[in-house]
């Protein structure tokens, strides 16, 4: 596997959208590594991350989550992204969540887009850990617009990577 950094964005102030545009189409997969927190007060529960891209239609989000007390398996319609992976504004200002998004075959126009994610946060007494997926229809992903409930706090960082494949078959 060859994996290359495409771009990295760090917020210096409260930011509503973190946008990667002109994403190269010559990789096979994309991976986003997100280190963030939101400005929305969700009563201490985790915040969603929504990814939008030009021409897409969000379908579903699913997740297997642990809250520290219970395990839940849930679904949410109408968005493309993750659920509960970063802390809300009530968390200590120094606490951020970590989540990895994998966009497989992101540039294949004829395939629906499936996102797989893994991540969460702990805030010393509460927190969430998530393994989930999401579905959208749409063309090749050339732009990714990341939003969260409220806005991104200052100091959030998203790194976008491109992942290649081998031309050899091994057959």
């Amino acid at each position: 596997m060859s994996m290359f950094p495409i771009a990295s964005i760090t917020t210096t102030t409260t930011t509503s959208n973190i946008v990667f545009s002109s994403i190269p189409q010559n990789f096979t997969h994309l991976q986003a590594r997100i280190w963030g927190r939101g400005t929305f007060n969700n009563g201490g529960s985790g915040l969603s991350i929504v990814c939008s891209f030009t021409g897409y239609t969000p379908i579903y989000r699913h997740r297997l989550a642990g809250t520290g007390a219970i395990v839940v398996a849930q679904n949410y319609s109408g968005s493309f992204g993750s659920v509960g992976t970063i802390p809300d504004v009530t968390a200590n200002a120094s606490i951020f969540g970590s989540v990895i998004f994998d966009f497989v075959n992101y540039s294949v126009a004829g395939q629906n887009k499936t996102l797989r994610y893994f991540g969460g946060f702990d805030r010393n007494g509460s927190g969430e850990i998530n393994f989930g997926s999401s579905l959208a229809t749409g063309p090749a992903i050339a732009t990714l617009d990341f939003t969260t409930d409220g806005s991104w706090a200052a100091g959030c960082r998203i790194d976008l990577y491109g992942i290649g494949i081998s031309n050899a078959t091994g057959a």
């Binding site: 596997m1 642990g66 951020f96 969540g97 970590s98 893994f118 969460g120």
Partner: protein, 432 residues
């Protein structure tokens, strides 16, 4: 390995007494860290001893975690607070079947950032059974803002099973790390037709190989370990640069100091006396880059005697004191051991002369000047020479030494005699 993620350290457990794995001096130039662990403890119980990761080998209780755990029959979520580290997984000998190791990924983002430290972990421990497995996912927090400079991992105080492996990776998020960082040039050493080029690679330089080039241009040599030896033309002065290279380009060091290569045993100069009228010859401008000098001679004098002394001065030095010689002298019938005295030269050889019983006999010998450039040592010689004159009364073998009370490096050797016979010959060599 792509440039996105490169291995920093790997440790593999051997034996059965390792209770902890420490990754120390973690480079601070990456965006994130990742630990891949394939481990197993020697503990015979089950579900009791976990892999714990201690950032900065902390002994505090500032860690907490949120967890999902499944044993393939049930799933649960739990929480640890006021804990001493980052709880990861099970993987005891009493749980997993023989030769089965846990598989764990520990992702630590923003490990140098001045915020609380976090990690997300996914781990599985398999077993040759339907349900006796452990699957965990964790979100971790360590409420400390210091950069993470080391990671310590232990298994609940138990020892790790042999074959357990731990690799620490550094993850980059910028393009500019794709071209290697330039190495630092070190010492270049003459190796007689080759030059050993010493360098120090930059930390996490991402170089796949190192290229050595010379000025003036010569051969280009690639290598992956320090030092790299490259061929050189004898007698040519070179400087060298080492370039860290990968598929995206390279970055070269500054140029080395100059080095000239010589043979291990190389001829410096020689001289043959063309007539019977010359009584002196000087080897001047002697190169200073050898370890020792050796003078080989084949000499006869023209003095009206059966033999005559052949003398030498160093550096045209007439101000410092010479000790003429000490010698062990064999004539074929007797042995003598005696000394000369204070002098203005040394007598490095006694050679046949005009009235010796054989007209065409020359003395042959070897004179060694050791450490001829070394500071703080007086200059001396050792000569082994002799000749045979087809006579029981003429001819001898000598082992002789002499001394000049001067520490100056030898840059010139002058030999003198009344006159040297035609075809006498002397040659000077450098020894590395």
């Amino acid at each position: 390995m792509s440039v996105f993620m490169q291995p920093i350290y790997t440790q593999t457990v051997s034996g059965s007494s390792t209770s902890g794995i420490l990754f120390n001096n973690i480079p601070q130039g990456f965006a994130d860290l990742l630990v891949i662990a394939n481990d197993r403890s020697n503990f015979g119980g089950a579900y009791t001893n976990d892999l714990i990761i201690y950032p900065n080998t902390n002994g505090d209780t500032l860690s907490s975690s949120t967890t999902i755990f499944s044993n393939a029959s049930t799933a649960s979520s739990g929480r640890l607070t006021a804990f001493t580290g980052w709880w990861s997984q099970y993987g005891d000998a009493g749980l997993a079947s023989a030769n089965t190791f846990a598989n764990t990924s520990i992702y630590i983002p923003n490990y140098t950032n001045a915020t609380f430290k976090t990690a997300i972990v996914d781990s599985v421990t398999e077993d040759n059974s339907a349900s006796n497995v452990a699957m965990t996912m964790n979100a971790h927090l360590w409420r400390v803002t210091n950069p993470i400079t080391n990671l310590y991992m232990s298994h609940g105080g138990q020892t790790f099973a042999a074959g357990s492996t731990f690799t620490l990776y550094g993850i980059s998020n910028t393009y500019d790390t794709r071209i290697p960082t330039a190495p630092t040039i070190g010492t270049v050493t003459d190796q007689s037709g080759f030059v050993s080029v010493d360098f120090t690679r930059a930390a996490n330089d991402q170089a796949e190989t190192y290229k050595v080039t010379s000025s003036p241009a010569g051969s280009t040599t690639y290598g992956v370990t320090n030092p790299i030896t490259t061929p050189a033309v004898l007698g040519t002065s070179y400087t060298y640069q080492v370039e860290g290279v990968n598929s995206f380009g390279g970055s070269a060091s500054t140029a080395s100091s100059a080095v000239t290569t010589f043979n291990n045993y190389a001829s410096i100069a020689s001289y043959t006396f063309a007539d019977n009228a010359t009584g002196t010859f000087t080897f001047g401008n002697i190169p200073q880059n050898y370890k020792h000098l050796q003078m080989r001679f084949y000499l006869r004098g023209t003095a009206s005697a059966t033999f005559t002394d052949c003398n030498a001065t160093l550096n045209n030095d007439t101000s410092n004191t010479y000790w003429n010689y000490h010698q062990l002298f064999g004539t074929g019938t007797n042995i003598y051991s005696n000394a000369g005295g204070i002098s203005t030269q040394f007598a490095f050889a006694t050679i046949p002369a005009a009235t010796s019983s054989s007209a065409l006999t020359y003395a042959s010998g070897v004179v060694d000047f050791l450490d001829y450039t070394y500071p703080g040592k007086n200059r001396d010689f050792r000569s082994l020479h002799g000749y045979n004159n087809m006579s029981t009364s003429q001819g001898h073998t000598l082992l002789r030494t002499g001394l000049l009370q001067s520490t100056n490096p030898i840059t010139a050797i002058t030999i003198t005699c009344s006159n040297f016979a035609q075809y006498s010959r002397v040659a000077l060599y450098g020894i590395s």
